[in-house]
């Protein structure tokens, strides 16, 4: 094969890899665009839940979002710890939402119970890595404080950790 031919083949292969015409053939119909957290931080995975159709552009609530968390108050190790834990919660929510067509709802204990099997289909998930269970049946962050779940929609739940100081809505909170 001449060098010119090789170059043409290489360009063609490169083009195919970028174009990926096979993408979408076997993907789930319910895939939705990546989550955008209310704090503006893009979630790393797409939400598998199906947002119900809207009757039209609607006036959505304008929640007075709690003060933005400043992550500078957290050490890099703590930051990684809480990020990993929320990653795992999001995995759990994704799996739950796929089966139940929406995230679990309620307070922390109710959401935890739903994840652990108290749901319509008796779907049982494991306690997400990085979280622990307290004696009230609440899912707790790496420092033992119950996570705060702020339900924005069927597929969007803001997760807040009180951070190392274990005080909610303080400077070292972490929110996604």
């Amino acid at each position: 094969m001449s060098p010119q031919s090789k170059a043409v083949v290489a360009i063609a292969i490169g083009g195919l890899l970028v174009w990926r015409p096979w993408k979408g053939l076997y993907e789930s119909d319910s895939e939705t665009p990546a989550l955008q957290s209310p704090t503006g931080e893009a979630a790393t995975r797409p939400s598998p839940g199906v947002e119900p159709p809207r009757a039209g552009p609607s006036t959505q609530p304008a929640p007075s979002t709690p003060p933005p968390a400043t992550i500078s108050a957290m050490s890099p190790e703590d930051l990684q710890k809480v990020r990993d834990a929320i990653d795992n919660i999001e995995f759990a929510f994704r799996d739950f939402s796929t089966a139940m067509r929406g995230n679990p709802v309620g307070n922390n204990a109710e959401i935890t119970a739903a994840l652990l099997g108290d749901n319509e289909k008796q779907l049982k998930l494991e306690i997400p890595g990085g979280s622990t269970l307290n004696d009230k049946g609440e899912l707790c962050d790496p420092w033992g404080t119950p996570w705060f779940f702020h339900q924005l929609s069927a597929t969007q739940t803001e997760v807040r950790s009180a951070g190392p100081d274990r005080k909610m809505y303080s400077e070292d909170d972490f929110v996604r």
């Binding site: 053939l25 076997y26 119909d29 119900p52 159709p53 809207r54 009757a55 039209g56 552009p57 609607s58 006036t59 959505q60 609530p61 304008a62 929640p63 007075s64 979002t65 709690p66 003060p67 929406g102 995230n103 709802v105 309620g106 307070n107 204990a109 109710e110 319509e120 702020h150 339900q151 924005l152 929609s153 069927a154 969007q156 739940t157 909610m168 809505y169």
Partner: protein, 496 residues
């Protein structure tokens, strides 16, 4: 997976997805077409039955949506012995009994209540018989008790406690269906033909749509056939350099643009597009000219500064122009946000008289009081009896404090206002309706953490408003398909 398997999977997926999609589409089309058919039948029936004089009177409904979920636990507060119980649960969110504005409901439930101290205007309206409260109302699929909730014995509205879902449930009154239309829009679908039956009379036909929003697009006013008309707090947004007196340069420019838009087009789509442009310019200019008379009005009771006051003022100004606009029925949508008070609900040092919620309630009270006074200034008691306003919100909030505020709840108390306070007042005021929840965590009205299970459904609340507005019993199931599941299609807070 091998290539062969992939091909087979692709084939199976295609066949399955075709069957699934076909089935879904067929069912969906059937549902939509049957809904459209119902409304067309109703439209023609109403138009033929009532004719151009179906509405000899004027009526308006004003939906005040408190976005974010209002903490109504601190709007209507028990006095007397029950206050200690309230305070024990609310802790730093407690409004001291000494600062409450007492209200004295007639035919009450035997309990004493007071309003948040920021709500002087509302307290005055309530005591004057011009306002009423409906206790513990929220979206339901069926009447639900605590036992049923806990044992999952009854279907619940999906995604309880999430903002956007509860907004949809409130505005559609159809929690168990995809949100295609709002209940205000369905009412408009039903009633608009009655006021637009002079459609061929360019002078007397209604000039704007029945539904008007001052807060942008919303689900509440989405109908199957009637579109909502959007107006800003400064009036209709129109092309600059149009309007004005006949013969003026701006009017000539407007006429020129509209004439160009109306030019006969060979292409039907271009023709329709031109008509829409012509209509949009014409309607906007007409509305602004109609409300110009109140542009410099000095309101006897000043509207509060800010978005909510501005929105309520615009509603009053459009109502003042009702005769010019040739409209007999209007539904307005106003939205007022930041009620999601997880934090900063009370002021510095836990001062309950300041902070976000006190500020919001103050604006709400002053805005509604100013609006009610403006109606009197525009059209006296007669007009006051023709306009009913009501509040709605995502949900109530948890009774226990979270330390800095309150979290998402479910049932909440709501305000209905309007009328002159006489025996014939639109709102049968100075009364409370529904059942006040037992303020007890894990009590009979609690899901588990101080979130009240509604004892009145949004359907009952909305249907009572719609009945006053002109929806008759025969058509009530079309507008509120789930109403039959509940015991009170008319809660009695309006004189119909």
């Amino acid at each position: 997976m091998s290539t062969i398997d992939q091909d087979r999977a692709k084939f199976l997926r295609t066949r399955r997805s075709f069957l699934r999609d076909f089935g879904t589409a067929a069912l969906g089309s059937l549902a939509v077409s049957s809904t459209l058919r119902d409304f067309r039948l109703i439209n023609s029936a109403v138009a033929q039955g009532n004719g151009p004089f179906a509405f000899p009177d004027y009526k308006a409904l004003v939906c005040v949506f408190l976005s974010g979920g209002n903490d109504s636990n601190n709007l209507v507060i028990p006095r007397g012995a029950a206050h200690a119980n309230y305070a024990a649960i609310r802790q730093n969110l407690t409004i001291p009994e000494s600062v409450l504005l007492p209200i004295t409901p007639e035919d009450g439930d035997g309990n004493d209540y007071g309003l948040h101290p920021s709500c002087g205007g509302l307290a005055q309206m309530f005591e004057g018989g011009k306002a009423a409260f409906l206790f513990n109302v929220g979206p339901l699929l069926f009447p639900t008790t605590r036992i049923q909730y806990q044992k999952k014995l009854v279907a619940l509205p999906p995604q309880l406690f999430s903002h956007s879902d509860q907004v949809m449930h409130w505005q559609t009154s159809l929690p168990d269906q995809p949100p295609r239309t709002g209940w205000g829009g369905r009412v408009a679908d039903l009633l608009h033909p009655s006021q637009d039956s002079l459609i061929n009379d360019p002078v007397n036909r209604a000039k704007i749509a029945l539904c008007t929003s001052i807060a942008g697009a919303n689900t509440f006013e989405v109908g199957s056939s009637i579109q909502q008309y959007h107006v800003s707090t400064g009036g209709a947004v129109v092309m600059s350099g149009t309007g004005g007196a006949a013969g003026s340069a701006t009017k000539n420019r407007e006429n020129a643009i509209r004439n160009i838009a109306k030019l006969q087009q060979g292409n039907l789509q271009s023709g329709a597009y031109g008509e829409i442009i012509d209509d949009a310019i014409g309607t906007g200019v007409l509305l602004n000219e109609a409300i110009a008379a109140t542009n410099t009005t000095v309101w006897q009771t000043a509207f509060p500064t800010g978005s909510f006051g501005d929105q309520m003022k615009m509603v009053a100004r459009i109502i003042a122009a009702r005769d010019t606009l040739k409209i007999k029925r209007q539904i307005f949508f106003v939205s007022f946000g930041s009620y999601d008070t997880h934090t900063s609900q009370v002021g510095t040092g836990d001062d309950p008289l300041t902070g976000t919620h006190a500020n919001l309630l103050g604006q709400l009270s002053n805005g509604i009081a100013a609006f009610h006074a403006a109606l009197n200034q525009i059209g006296g008691a007669s007009l006051q009896n023709s306009v009913v306003g009501f509040t709605a919100s995502d949900f109530g909030r948890t009774m226990p404090t979270n330390g800095q505020g309150s979290d998402h709840g479910w049932g909440s108390h709501h305000l209905i206002f309007g009328g002159d306070g006489s025996n014939n007042s639109a709102v049968r005021g100075k009364r409370t309706y529904g059942t006040f929840p037992v303020l007890q965590v894990n009590g009979p009205d609690d899901t588990s953490t101080g979130r009240w299970i509604p004892t009145t459904s949004v359907d009952e609340y909305s249907a009572t408003l719609a009945r006053w507005f002109g929806v008759d019993d025969a058509h009530m199931p079309v507008v509120f398909p789930n109403l039959g599941r509940f015991g009170n299609p008319d809660l009695g807070f309006l004189n119909t």
